[in-house]
């Protein structure tokens, strides 16, 4: 098996005193999708923010392509090929859609024209609403801006925090389709999802987090079949 593109080992992180995430291992290899599911407050988003560099890990190691990124500022981690889409406040509200996408290609400005066409092919609405301020878009359209912005670089690793949050059921499906499509180009995807069933269906691997630790780590299909998981996390959510 190929070396994992993203490897996080024994990551501990928290706000202020006390850790929220206690010694978590997560890894994704190129062209794969891994999903973290689990109850609220399990530390899923905290974990993904830590990989992105928005929070700084207290302990542990985070590597991209074998290169340590733990402890680096978010702007440097972005330059290592990590694109992170936060769940909230994930667009520049005062900037137009096109300006948002320009910020997306901040680290590779020369690629803008090329990537812009590619992203707009995925989300045609972004071209139609090019000059609208992102703050004036609907929630679903904002989510597309946020996702499109992350794809303005060709990341090695895509980190998605609740990509389906606030979307209509039809759009959730569309979003997951696009994630799959993007993933096929060889990008490693790590996402956190409340919509556990649908997310696991497109994933290769699944992690169940509870109380800041990985409670289960198994191929996604196994988690979908596991009666324990479906009772605890899948059945009740739908």
């Amino acid at each position: 098996m190929a070396e994992d593109l993203l490897e996080a080992e024994n990551v501990c992180v928290g706000y202020g005193r006390g850790d929220i995430v206690h010694g978590v291992d997560v890894s994704v290899s190129a062209g794969r999708i891994a999903t973290i599911i689990g109850p609220n407050g399990a530390g899923k988003s905290t974990m993904i923010k830590t990989i992105a560099g928005v929070l700084t890990r207290r302990e542990g190691s985070i590597r991209i392509d074998g290169r340590e990124i733990g402890g680096k500022p978010a702007s440097e981690i972005a330059r290592c090929g990590v694109a992170y889409v936060p769940q909230e406040a994930n667009v520049f509200r005062q900037l137009t859609v096109t300006e948002n996408l320009q910020m997306g290609s901040w680290i590779e400005p020369k690629e803008f024209d090329d990537r812009y066409e590619k992203v707009c092919a995925l989300f045609p609405i972004l071209k139609e609403r090019a000059k609208v301020r992102a703050g004036n878009l609907s929630g679903g359209q904002r989510q597309m801006v946020a996702f499109g912005m992350a794809l303005m670089v060709e990341p090695k690793v895509l980190l998605l925090d609740e990509p389906s949050a606030g979307l209509s059921p039809a759009m959730v499906e569309q979003m997951f389709d696009i994630i799959k499509q993007v993933n096929k180009t060889g990008i490693a995807v790590l996402m956190v999802e409340q919509n556990a069933m649908q997310a696991l269906k497109i994933s290769d691997h699944g992690y169940v987090m509870a109380a800041g630790q990985v409670a289960m780590s198994a191929p996604a299909s196994e988690l979908l079949d596991s009666s324990e998981v479906s009772e605890l996390y899948l059945g009740t959510r739908q």
């Binding site: 992105a52 560099g53 978010a74 702007s75 910020m103």
Partner: protein, 287 residues
């Protein structure tokens, strides 16, 4: 009579507009009202004075020197004072900025005393037409403010760093996540704003007088302009400056001129009651 007041108002507005833009830009990124802006303006006036009168340089060289020198002082005020305090509440930072203003003012007093000074400029007759008077310096101030306004617009709208400034003001975490080195962007913003405060010091020295409180007198109109336009919105600040500048002068028609200084307060009070996000500002959305 009122034609002259409008001219005075426009000059006044031109004096207020650059620092109001700068105040707005700083607020957008740092989210606290920096009361030291008046002191920054005073620093600009005294650097220009030192270069012009002390070192005998021509006025335009002294002006550029004041912009550069003030930019450095203002940037240092971030490095030494505000940066170590990041993350504190806006009220704490506001109090810190008042303390900083007092310190700067008194350091200036230490060297220059409280005397009222002026630049070393040849006396010129004001230009007169149709019974209205305007000095050459006032025309310079108006023209330069218009140029500054356009330059700031072009900077924010079309340059890479300008867009990064807007993005950082909008959502600093996201800017950082997209690879923007926000501490560099913030330092750049302090520099630009410092240059604008320095220029205002030069304008104040040309149109008013140079003394340790010159910037302090401008603080309230600057705040009023920025709040009127919508705090954090540089275009709002330009519009706000024009309205406050005119309002201050035109009150002379109905009230004794000693009440002029209160106009800014009234504008702030009324605005906070009826439209707290200002004319061009975006209301803050709270979840």
């Amino acid at each position: 009579m009122s034609g002259q007041l409008i001219i005075n108002g426009i000059v006044n507005a031109s004096l207020i507009a650059p620092p109001a833009i700068a105040f707005s830009l700083l607020f957008g990124i740092l989210r606290f009202p920096n009361f030291a802006i008046g002191a920054y303006v005073t620093v600009g006036a005294f650097i220009a004075y030192a270069l012009n009168v002390g070192a005998g340089m021509p006025m335009w060289v002294a002006g550029l020197g004041a912009m550069a020198g003030t930019a450095v002082v203002v940037w240092l005020s971030d490095v030494l004072v505000f940066k170590p305090m990041r993350g504190h509440t806006p009220v704490t930072l506001l109090v810190v900025s008042i303390a900083l203003a007092l310190i700067i003012e008194h350091v200036i007093r230490l060297f220059y005393g409280a005397d009222v000074r002026g630049f070393d400029l040849p006396l010129e007759r004001p230009i007169k037409f149709a019974g209205l008077r305007i000095t050459g310096e006032q025309i310079d101030i108006i023209v330069m403010t218009i140029v500054i306004g356009i330059a700031i617009h072009l900077l924010l709208q079309y340059t890479r760093i300008g867009k990064a400034m807007r993005a950082t003001a909008d959502n600093e975490t996201l800017a950082e996540v997209r690879g923007i080195n926000t501490s560099y962007v913030i330092a750049f913003t302090w520099f630009i704003c410092g240059a604008l405060f320095g220029l205002t010091g030069v304008f104040a020295g040309l149109d008013l007088v140079i003394e340790p409180l010159v910037g302090w007198y401008l603080t309230i109109p600057i705040f009023a302009a920025a709040i009127l336009g919508g705090i954090g919105s540089p275009y709002g600040a330009m519009l706000g400056a024009l309205l406050v500048g005119l309002a201050e002068e035109l009150t002379v028609l109905v009230l004794p001129s000693s009440y002029k200084i209160g106009v800014g307060f009234v504008i702030i009070a009324v605005l906070l009651l009826i439209r707290p996000h200002g004319l061009l500002g975006q209301p803050e959305i709270k979840k």
